[in-house]
């Protein structure tokens, strides 16, 4: 019997399994041997013609629909190498509103990259989805600053109707970091470091006439070196080159970070001050772990923002207190400009290091954020025949069990048990220590 492995990527499209596969950080090959294939059908048809007079009894049906016990459908854990252009695909990093984000390796330069995978089908369902993405791509291509995420490459796959936006590699967002800490806030000096980079990036964007409109911790990413990158320019607006001022008419950012002029539904408002406000809310969030304005519903929230009244916890002292008050002034004209923020006392002073910094949370228990592309390359290029005899197969039931267990663990927030890490790829260390590197397979 032919042993057709379900490695065809189109098939992968049909089966929703890849979703689970990514959850568990592994690619599974369906071993289709146990499925009733055409050969079996012919045999059945033959039997049938011999027993024309007979009623179709249960036995016959069961013969016709060759039943396969789920125990017999087996999967094999394997890191299957996948290339998109010159990029080697790695594991899932996160999921955005438009699609998945995965790690990649540029096989020419060996630079780590992240790729945003957009499905046209999904995009078309979002109002203005396609146009927004096209605008964002155009915009990102024209920007170049160390604190603004850079778009490295854009690839299309017509067949699969997918778009790949290849970006600088980041390890996580400030939002994720905040959430990983008990008090959901940063020590002052750490908040200060990020805030300075945020203002630098914003100043650049504004100098390019770009109003970001959606500044929030979730859109501020960090590289492995701890450099902040402003990302997600999906709702950004570019002011016309010859416009006299920065008047905008539309606000589409995240509600909790919107300024009073948008919450109150004004027809037009100065754009750059919108970013100042949301940076103020972000800074407030960095240092207190809370939001200046809250509300049970978006109406309540906008009502509160519209009033512009908020309190700052007592433990926040001047000059930071004064800076927050200045950035969160209700009237955009009175609100501090980026220039004034730069000249503010709190900005020019680096607060003393008081506590260890909040670390970047680990990705799937890997606190070092090791390159996830490596195992795929290893599996692809090195013959693992000496381990071929003890290749692990497991059934869907086992797989599901493991997924449930994993989810339960995540919900409990407990550390990973040995059980689930058993089948994990061994750390690259072990492949360096291998006695004899087996012969390289032809790819």
């Amino acid at each position: 019997m032919c042993n057709i492995t379900n490695s065809d990527s189109d098939e992968q499209e049909l089966n929703p399994e890849p979703g689970e596969v990514e959850l568990t950080n592994r690619v599974f090959d369906v071993n289709s041997e146990e499925f009733p294939v055409l050969g079996d059908l012919d045999e059945d048809a033959h039997t049938w013609s011999n027993n024309l007079s007979d009623d179709l009894d249960v036995g016959n049906i069961s013969n016709f629909f060759h039943r396969v016990s789920s125990e017999q459908v087996i999967y094999q854990a394997k890191k299957r190498l996948k290339m998109i252009g010159k990029y080697v695909m790695g594991d899932l990093l996160g999921e955005g509103s438009y699609g998945k984000v995965k790690e990649m390796l540029d096989s020419d330069t060996l630079c780590r990259r992240a790729v945003k995978i957009l499905k046209q089908r999904k995009l078309r369902r979002i109002p203005n989805g396609v146009q927004n993405v096209e605008r964002e791509i155009k915009l990102l291509k024209s920007l170049k600053h160390k604190n603004v995420i850079s778009l490295v490459d854009v690839l299309f796959n017509e067949e699969k109707q997918k778009m790949y936006l290849i970006m600088e590699f980041c390890v996580g967002s400030l939002q994720g970091m905040l959430e990983s800490t008990p008090y959901k806030k940063f020590p002052l000096y750490q908040a200060h470091g990020y805030f300075i980079q945020l203002i630098d990036g914003l100043e650049y964007l504004h100098s390019k006439r770009v109003v970001h409109k959606d500044i929030k911790p979730g859109n501020l990413l960090l590289t492995l070196e701890g450099e902040l990158k402003i990302s997600d320019l999906g709702v950004a607006e570019t002011i016309d080159f010859f416009a006299i001022d920065d008047t905008c008419v539309q606000g589409q950012g995240s509600p909790a970070f919107q300024p009073p002029e948008i919450a109150n539904g004004l027809d037009s408002f100065p754009g750059f001050k919108v970013d100042v406000w949301s940076s103020g809310v972000s800074l407030y969030n960095f240092v207190t772990g809370e939001y200046p304005f809250e509300g049970d519903s978006i109406y309540k929230l906008f009502e509160n923002i519209g009033k512009g009244e908020f309190t700052i916890p007592d433990y926040i002292e001047d000059p930071l207190r004064d800076l927050l008050l200045g950035m969160l002034r209700k009237d955009p004209e009175e609100r501090l400009s980026l220039q004034q923020i730069r000249q503010h006392m709190w900005f020019s002073r680096r607060p003393p290091v008081t506590a260890p910094p909040v670390p970047i949370p680990p990705l799937r228990n890997d606190e070092f954020h090791c390159m996830t592309v490596l195992p795929y390359l290893f599996d692809h290029y090195y013959d693992t025949s000496d381990t071929a005899n003890n290749v692990e197969y497991f059934t869907e039931r086992e797989l599901n069990e493991e997924i449930t267990k994993r989810e339960a663990e995540q919900n409990n927030g407990s550390a990973q048990t040995n059980q689930s890490s058993k089948r994990r790829w061994k750390k690259p260390i072990s492949c360096i220590a291998v006695r004899k590197i087996p012969g390289c397979k032809q790819s």
């Binding site: 504004h206 100098s207 390019k208 080159f241 220039q339 006392m345 020019s348």
Partner: protein
């Protein structure tokens, strides 16, 4: 005195000794060689206090504060910079390192050295004139760029008459000095957005008449770099007022049209990015419109064939197509 272990010399002693040595060096007496040795030795001592060595940590804040205070009181920073060309090679580098470290010093929100230099702007002017002397130009450059990071100091430099010497420094024949001067020049004109915008606005005529010389320079690198910087300045939203003024002057348009035809493709390309602003301007003054109209057909032809091999650059092609359309649709002003 202990045989081993570090010297117990106080900052006061070191600064005093260094000052005497520099003074001796300045006079150029017979003992100059000895003085130079003394200068180098004391500079190393100061440097080690600030940065530490492989087996000693930097000194405590109190000692550093004392040192800084002595440096301010004795006016030694200026003296060192004035005599920089007399100090030996390693010593020059040490001066720059000490200077930059002291400059970065902060007490709370204050930067005492920045405040000190504001009261002694000769320090900045002496540093700027350092570009005249080949052997100290690069050392002065590193110190100047460190100064330019502080708005107050950048302001003094921009608004001084000495600033216009940069238009000469960026053209000197020694390539590394010219490049270094250009990066300081650029830093001064772009680092502090609002300050720079105000400066360009207030001194528009003077700056741009000087700038014109750079754009017409004999030196290819100067021409190309200054054209690129011009594009950056005009396309920066902070310089909106300056940009509108620049694009209403027909002489500037003529210059850009000539640069579009330069031999170098890089210059052509940079010129394109300035030229496009003239065409895209929705309120073109009559003289500008006249020039464009007079060359309407030629420009369309020219742009059709302009850098056609840049197929990859989507933005460029969009812009080019937009310009061609705009120029084709140009009509004389109504009522003329």
């Amino acid at each position: 005195m202990p045989l081993f272990g570090k010297s117990q010399k106080s900052p006061t002693d070191i600064v005093k000794a260094l000052k005497e040595a520099v003074n001796a060096l300045e006079k150029g007496e017979k003992k100059a060689e000895k003085a130079q040795e003394e200068v180098s030795k004391n500079l190393v001592l100061i440097k080690n206090m600030l940065y530490g060595t492989s087996d000693a940590e930097p000194q405590t804040d109190i000692i550093v504060a004392q040192l800084a205070q002595e440096l301010y009181n004795s006016n030694l920073l200026l003296l060192l910079i004035q005599n920089l060309n007399r100090i030996d090679f390693e010593g020059k580098k040490d001066v720059a390192q000490v200077f930059n470290n002291i400059l970065r010093r902060q007490i709370g929100t204050r930067s005492p050295t920045v405040e000190y230099i504001c009261t002694k702007p000769e320090i900045l002017f002496t540093l700027m004139s350092g570009y005249e002397l080949q052997e100290i130009a690069l050392n002065c450059g590193t110190m100047l760029r460190e100064c330019a990071r502080y708005e107050a100091l950048a302001k003094i430099m921009l608004y001084s008459d000495d600033f216009y010497n940069f238009f000469r420094y960026v053209e000197v024949s020694t390539f590394d000095i010219a490049s270094d001067a250009f990066s300081t020049f650029k830093e001064l004109l772009t680092r502090h957005k609002i300050l720079c915008a105000d400066f360009l606005e207030v001194n528009y005529d003077k700056v741009f008449s000087h700038y014109q010389r750079l754009l017409n320079s004999e030196n290819y690198v100067t021409r190309r770099q200054s054209l690129k910087l011009l594009g950056e300045l005009l396309l920066d939203r902070h310089n909106f007022t300056v940009m509108t003024r620049y694009i209403s002057n027909p002489d500037n348009l003529k210059l850009m049209m000539n640069m579009l035809k330069e031999r170098s493709r890089n210059i052509q390309f940079e010129a394109f990015h300035v030229f496009k602003v003239f065409v895209a301007n929705p309120n073109k003054p009559k003289p500008i419109l006249d020039i464009l109209l007079r060359n309407q057909d030629k420009l369309v032809d020219f742009l059709m064939k302009f850098h056609t091999d840049r197929a990859e650059d989507e933005q460029f092609n969009d812009e080019k197509a937009y310009l061609i359309r705009q120029i084709k649709e140009l009509r004389p002003m109504a009522g003329h």
